[in-house]
């Protein structure tokens, strides 16, 4: 390789220790700044010299953003800088929200989970390689999608929710958090704002250059798991090419409340099929009042994939999604 791509171009580095200072720095630098958490998404961009921020605000020293504690309404609060390993192996998370513990424990590799943070896993950018290789696509501010042409390699791209961009959300914890009705607390200079997880992720039809509601200057501070879905039946499955490292081809997360053998309420969320985790509201209402059986699952799978539009190389995702939705209802425990 003739071009040296591995030295990171210079930037100014800030390591605040308080949330207020971090927010002030992030605001101050705006779109010339970059928030650094675990670094697993960040350093690829920097080494490839595709993103070249002037200032990096490293959150490693902000203790307040780390840790798992009891929430105000009896739920659980997780700081955005808490490592994925700490989320996956925390006794409270494992005991009360096993869906999230499972999802966090299936991210990438042990090292990446030790280093990567829950917040980073949620707000990470898409893995579309045209975009990540620096092609001037819609998401990068250009006026073409390189992944949706007749010649494109688009096996990993989306089957729904596309709007010019066909990239998918890569996060494993995102569908779990949507299925638990988690809340995202965003810190800004004018105080905190809270978003329901389902509203936190946005599609390209809303803003093609962002994956979440976060704008330059915003900081995801913590994730609140509310009490209601504690102890519910759940299911999580991530399909990927290798059992380590890889992002999901399709993943599913479900929470089910079952009484007297009938589903009272449900959250069914599928990821890596769209640019955001997809909450299947039509499925949720269709399965209410039914038994979590093979038949119900079969029906749910059919409803789930209605309206799917495949690209040249990703029609397998329809069958995968149909089956995963079925399992997420039939096999929830």
């Amino acid at each position: 390789m003739a071009v040296m791509r591995d030295m990171i171009p210079p930037f100014e580095l800030y390591q605040p220790t308080e949330v207020e200072d971090a927010v002030r720095l992030i605001r101050q630098h705006g779109d010339k700044g970059w928030v650094l958490a675990g670094g697993l998404d960040t350093f690829d961009w920097f080494k490839d010299r595709i993103k070249r921020p002037e200032a990096v605000i490293d959150l490693v020293g902000v203790e307040e953003l780390r840790g798992i504690s009891a929430g105000a309404d009896g739920g659980l609060e997780i700081g955005a800088m808490t490592s994925l390993t700490d989320v996956a192996e925390n006794a409270d998370v494992m005991g009360r929200y096993p869906l999230l513990a499972e999802a966090a424990g299936l991210v990438a590799t042990p090292q990446i989970r030790n280093q990567g943070t829950l917040g980073g896993n949620i707000v990470q950018d898409t893995r579309c390689w045209y975009y990540r290789s620096g092609w001037p696509c819609y998401r990068a501010g250009g006026n073409v999608c390189y992944a949706a042409t007749s010649q494109s390699m688009n096996r990993e791209h989306c089957i729904m929710g596309a709007s010019r961009c066909v990239a998918v959300s890569p996060s494993d914890t995102a569908p779990a958090l949507v299925a638990l009705d988690a809340e995202m607390v965003v810190a800004g200079t004018s105080g905190e704002r809270t978003f329901a997880a389902a509203d936190f992720f946005i599609g390209p039809d809303i803003d093609i250059e962002r994956m979440t509601v976060l704008k330059p200057g915003d900081l995801l501070a913590r994730i609140v798991l509310p009490a209601p879905w504690e102890g519910a039946r759940w299911y999580f499955e991530k399909i990927r090419d290798r059992k380590s490292w890889d992002f999901s081809l399709v993943s599913v997360a479900s929470s089910l409340r079952v009484e007297g053998g009938m589903i009272q309420d449900a959250r069914i969320v599928v990821n890596s099929v769209a640019p955001y985790p997809v909450r299947l509201r039509a499925v949720e209402s269709a399965i209410r009042g039914r038994a979590p059986s093979e038949d119900t699952g079969q029906m749910a799978g059919e409803i789930a994939v209605e309206g799917a539009r495949t690209l040249r190389h990703n029609d397998y995702k329809v069958a995968l999604m149909r089956n995963l939705v079925k399992r997420s209802i039939r096999d929830a425990a």
């Binding site: 990171i8 210079p10 100014e12 590799t109 090292q111």
Partner: protein, 210 residues
């Protein structure tokens, strides 16, 4: 304790002057001159924006406090190899996709290629060079010798560090659990079976020594 010091340093507990004095007194500053891949940052102005970090920092590597002049954009693997001379830590992909650069931070495995050196202040860095204690090989190193666990062995230091991290977490793993715990490292020779033999032997040796 170390963490507190690092936070103090970040909060401006040390003035730039005091810090430089300390470095001179210690007389052990690793300099950028040994740096093989000089980035343009070497020629960048040394001026620091207000509130930004200093380049001269202390990192704790294998129990030693090392003072070192680190560009702000430098990763730990680069600092270890090219400034501190600890070339046991390998750089394979430099993209958190191979595990050759695995080191321990406070006993937990991390990819050295994907963390800034500035971010590890106040934490204990352990590299493959730090495993041997008083001339005695670490059980993992002894197991590598016993089992001849690697072919070309470029991945060996990373795998060895992952095995140390594995034993910390699960001193008595099954072969399957070991495979899971070592799944963040790749071997280009495909020698996984012997690597797992090594891991199981390391666990056995470690138990017998305890």
């Amino acid at each position: 304790m170390l963490q507190t010091e690092a936070i103090q340093a970040r909060r401006g507990g040390f003035t730039r002057r005091k810090f430089i004095k300390g470095v001179i007194a210690a007389g052990a500053t690793a300099s950028v001159s040994g740096y093989l891949f000089r980035g343009s940052g070497v020629f960048a102005p040394m001026l620091t924006a207000q509130g930004a970090v200093e380049r001269l920092i202390t990192v704790t590597v294998n129990g030693q406090q090392r003072r070192v002049d680190v560009p702000k954009y430098e990763t730990l693997a680069m600092t270890l190899r090219y400034q501190l001379g600890l070339t046991g830590t390998k750089l394979g992909c430099d993209r958190a996709e191979c595990g050759a650069c695995t080191v321990l931070l406070d006993g937990v495995t991390h990819y050295g290629c994907s963390i800034l050196t500035h971010s590890v202040q106040g934490r204990e860095v352990t590299t493959i060079e730090g495993l041997e204690q008083d001339g005695e090989l670490h059980p993992v190193q002894q197991a590598v010798m016993d089992e001849g666990g690697f072919q070309c062995a470029f991945c060996a230091p990373g795998f060895a560090m992952s095995m140390v991290g594995m034993l910390e977490k699960n001193p008595n793993p099954t072969r399957e659990e070991a495979a899971e715990l070592l799944s963040g490292n790749l071997c280009r020779c495909g020698d996984y079976d012997k690597i797992l033999n090594t891991a199981m032997r390391a666990a056995e040796l470690s138990r017998s020594r305890a």
